[in-house]
């Protein structure tokens, strides 16, 4: 004859809440559960969307803008301009072979004409592997330029999806000829749409990319506006950047520790920062949700306290007949848990339905949602919510049950 049997029998035969009270209590918990789940789901959706958007500019990259020195170096004064040229890209590639990629970028604004449409176009000259590093993925039917295009200085152009639309409207741009600065270029690809979190110069969807060799031949410019490097392992970014400066410092005459000479945007560092901010947002949302759920828990505790008061005589009788403390406590805790878990299960079902319904909202075509993402539930959220529910249920049952167990049977039994 186990304790479990006794507790179970007592629990099964104990009085139940009035229906209305039970419903309200369960509804409060369900509401709290929906709140915490929706907030966490929203946070998770935001995190995933921002993560995706952040990656859309490229991963494990660093953008370097050659600038002016701020420290004197080997007798040279501060304030000297650093001017790497197209050929220096090969030099870096040769000396730092562990880098996944090195690209030079030159930019200019030129008028672009197609038919009756003229737009001022931001033209980027870059290496052929730039498309992969900077995630300029072509839409079906097009391509980014390749090594041969670069080598042959072909007049081919890859367009951002928005500028392509502005220039060609509803026409298919690939295969058409676009006049850039009065020279004809063959449009070979249009970028797939992407939502960018970080950008420099402007969104990728609004510029056009041509081979850097073509750029030099057409516009007569050698000097790089940006250097883009890609590392294989994000953890190595810091040391690679230091090595790069140690390589370029003596070559261009700047102190490698002079961070004003080559201002750098380190994507890896940015990603870490992002991760922390998003974790903060998720924690905040989770706490707000948990607080809402706790209010539901307080409701359960409140009801259970009322129940203890109502059942004082019942408890007194059981004690007089020989019930031990735990046989009084455990069924009460179980009852509190029961309401919490039913409410929690209900909340989880509702929240899952809402999240499922949200998946029908088109995110890509909506400017706001493209940044916010759609609410997403993850196993982690399920575990966290269940744990919080369990703890709340336990506490909501335990404290009232303790009061129940402190009932003095002698005082409760004699009078009406």
């Amino acid at each position: 004859m186990s304790d479990f049997h006794i507790v179970y029998t007592l629990f099964a035969s104990s009085a139940r809440l009035q229906r209305k009270r039970a419903y309200l209590t369960i509804a409060a918990i369900a509401w709290g559960t929906v709140a915490i789940l929706m907030l966490l789901a929203f946070g998770e959706g935001l995190r995933r969307q921002l993560e995706k958007n952040r990656r859309s500019t490229g991963e494990n990259l660093a953008i370097i803008w050659p600038s002016e020195t701020s420290k004197p170096y080997k007798g040279l004064p501060a304030g000297r301009a650093i001017r790497p040229r197209v050929a220096d890209v090969d030099f870096i590639r040769e000396r730092l072979p562990e880098l996944a990629a090195v690209h030079g970028e030159i930019q200019t604004w030129r008028p672009a004409v197609y038919g009756r449409t003229t737009k001022n176009l931001r033209v980027i000259g870059a290496n052929w592997s730039y498309g992969e590093s900077r995630k300029h993925y072509p839409q079906a039917g097009g391509r980014f330029f390749n090594a041969e295009d670069e080598q042959q200085r072909r007049r081919v152009i890859f367009l951002g999806d928005e500028i392509a639309k502005d220039l060609f409207h509803d026409e298919e741009p690939v295969g058409k000829t676009l006049l850039v600065n009065n020279s004809p270029y063959l449009v070979i690809g249009v970028m797939q749409h992407k939502t960018q979190m970080g950008m420099y110069g402007g969104p990728d969807s609004n510029h056009a990319v041509i081979p850097i060799t073509t750029f030099r031949a057409q516009f007569g410019r050698e000097q790089l506006n940006e250097l883009v490097i890609e590392v294989k392992d994000p953890a190595s970014m810091k040391s690679e950047l230091r090595k790069l400066n140690e390589l370029l410092g003596p070559k261009f005459g700047y102190d490698p520790t002079d961070d004003r000479a080559m201002p750098t945007w380190d994507f890896v560092k940015g990603a870490e920062m992002n991760k922390k901010i998003l974790l903060g947002i998720q924690l905040f949302l989770g706490i707000v949700g948990a607080l809402t759920l706790i209010i539901g828990g307080v409701g359960v505790a409140n009801i259970m306290y009322a129940v203890v008061k109502e059942r004082t005589r019942e408890i007194g009788v059981k004690m007089a007949l020989g019930a031990k403390r735990r046989w009084i406590i455990i069924p009460f805790v179980a009852e509190g848990m029961l309401y919490t878990l039913i409410g929690g299960a209900l909340g989880i079902i509702i929240a899952t339905l809402i999240v499922a319904a949200c998946s029908f909202i088109p995110v890509e075509s909506n400017k706001v949602l493209a940044f916010l993402g759609r609410p997403t539930l993850s196993p982690m959220i399920g575990v966290a919510t269940s744990a919080i529910l369990g703890i709340i249920g336990l506490l909501a049952g335990y404290f009232p049950a303790r009061r129940a167990a402190s009932v003095d049977p002698a005082a409760t039994l004699r009078y009406e």
């Binding site: 029998t9 035969s13 104990s14 009085a15 059981k318 007949l321 003095d408 049977p409």
Partner: protein
């Protein structure tokens, strides 16, 4: 053999500012098979004595043995176990659980006593039959009359074969005819050799007891056999 042995029992209620001495040194011995009525005006300390006898409370001072077992310095759970095995309670207001059947009410002490399901069901049915409620095992207390409820309570009190049956004004809430029914049941139980302690105002009930203990102002003032 003494079922109950109380020596110089004192009980003081400390309500912070005021100390109320409810019992001021009670000596009481009850032998197996006696039917004892404890009488006295209200405020005399009857209820306090009943709580102590039934192990619902512990004395402030003094020595109390119930069935040879010392009831002092035990934990709450141990006290619960003593109540379960040694005391059968019958209350003025019945104190049955309203939402479960008579049968389940009678089973309750056996559940706490650790008796297996089938055995306690059988025994509860038998006990209810013995008090004349064999037909009403599935009725809830609210569906029974006062006299019937008290009979369920008596069946419950007998469930664990306790050393004493402790009845607190058992006829107080009953009409005369059901009251005398209950009194007859008590007399029968006494004749079967059980030990009964009945706390009562009712002279008719007191007169059926073999021994009457009168208590006043927290002390026993009269103790005589009928």
């Amino acid at each position: 053999m003494n079922i109950i042995e109380m020596r110089n029992i004192r009980k003081t209620y400390d309500t912070g500012k005021v100390k109320v001495e409810a019992l001021k040194g009670v000596d009481l011995e009850i032998k197996k098979g006696q039917m004892v009525a404890i009488v006295g005006p209200s405020g005399s300390g009857k209820s306090t004595l009943m709580n102590l006898l039934g192990c619902l409370d512990t004395p402030t001072d003094g020595h109390y043995q119930l069935g040879g077992e010392n009831v002092a310095g035990v934990t709450r759970d141990q006290l619960a176990e003593i109540r379960n095995r040694r005391v059968g309670f019958v209350f003025q207001n019945f104190n049955l659980l309203p939402h479960i059947s008579s049968l389940e009410n009678v089973e309750l002490p056996m559940l706490f006593g650790g008796m297996p399901v089938r055995e306690r069901r059988e025994r509860a049915t038998e006990l209810l039959t013995r008090v004349g409620l064999g037909e009403r095992t599935e009725h809830k207390p609210t569906e029974l009359s006062g006299g019937q409820m008290q009979r369920v309570a008596i069946a419950r009190a007998l469930a664990m074969e306790p050393d004493i049956i402790l009845a607190d004004e058992p006829t107080g809430n009953l009409d005369t005819s059901s009251g005398s029914d209950i009194m007859s049941i008590f007399t029968d139980l006494w004749k079967q050799g059980r030990t009964l302690v009945i706390i009562t105002h009712d002279p008719a009930l007191a007169s059926r007891a073999s021994r009457v203990v009168e208590i006043r102002d927290g002390v026993v003032v009269r103790d005589h056999n009928n």
